[in-house]
């Protein structure tokens, strides 16, 4: 490989296009969800175990700020991961691959996620 190729290592001069942003966020939310599995499983287990457990979960998710915040964060991550995942699958079938349509698809995913995130917040609070 020629060593004379131009290299650009000044990251601040590299633009991050929207589709690249959705791509890295898909990865970040995927890892977040994996870390958050402990909460999903804990809540699922407790809620099915007995009536007292169910009521604990219910009061955590309606009264405890920390629990609500974690739930909101994880559900937002899930919304994003799901929307971007669907976009990913659609693109696997060869759609939205031009510069214009890919940008549009990324915008749709990002803005739908903001809306879903707000709706989740409204639902929890």
């Amino acid at each position: 490989m020629s060593k004379k190729r131009p290299v650009n290592l000044d990251l601040t001069t590299i633009q991050l296009p929207l589709p690249a942003l959705t791509s890295i966020l898909h990865r970040v939310t995927g890892v977040m969800l994996f870390v958050g599995l402990i909460f999903f499983f804990y809540v699922f287990d407790l809620s099915l175990a007995n009536e007292a457990g169910f009521n604990t979960v219910k009061s955590l998710l309606t009264q405890h700020f920390g629990a609500k915040f974690i739930a909101w964060g994880l559900l937002t991550a899930l919304s994003f991961h799901l929307l971007a995942g669907v976009k990913h699958l659609i693109m696997d079938f060869g759609y939205a691959e031009t510069l214009k349509s890919a940008n549009l698809a990324a915008k749709v995913v990002l803005s739908s996620c903001v809306i879903l995130s707000i709706l989740v917040g409204v639902w929890l609070w």
Partner: protein, 115 residues
């Protein structure tokens, strides 16, 4: 070059396909639960357990659980091969992910079928 020695199906194409099928199952399961919660405001313990006592729901949950195991394993395997270069650390990370998914699957089966 990354060798695929520790991948899920020992073939990149197979992993790629499994990642997509499991994504589809997880997506459907998520939508199913969201629709259930939205159409049952003020949910109580009886409604919740009777939902999960039905055989089709149990099977669907089990499918989602297995899909989750494979989806996370393949997904985090890709992440580890991208960012963790030293073999020892990468292998350790993969062992932790594998163990975690195994524990979640056992825990999940227990909580779904044991109540």
């Amino acid at each position: 070059m990354v060798t695929s020695i520790t991948s899920f199906g020992r073939s990149g194409l197979y992993d790629w396909l499994v990642q997509r099928i499991t994504a589809l199952v997880l997506g459907c399961y998520t939508v199913f639960l969201v629709v259930f919660f939205l159409s049952n405001p003020g949910l109580n313990f009886q409604d919740w357990t009777s939902l999960h006592a039905q055989l089709p729901v149990r099977i669907f949950s089990l499918m989602a659980l297995f899909s989750l195991g494979a989806h996370c394993w393949i997904g985090l395997w890709s992440v580890s091969t991208d960012y963790i270069k030293p073999f020892g650390y990468r292998f350790l990370f993969q062992v932790v992910v594998g163990a975690a998914m195994f524990i979640y699957i056992v825990w999940g089966i227990q909580l779904l079928w044991g109540f």
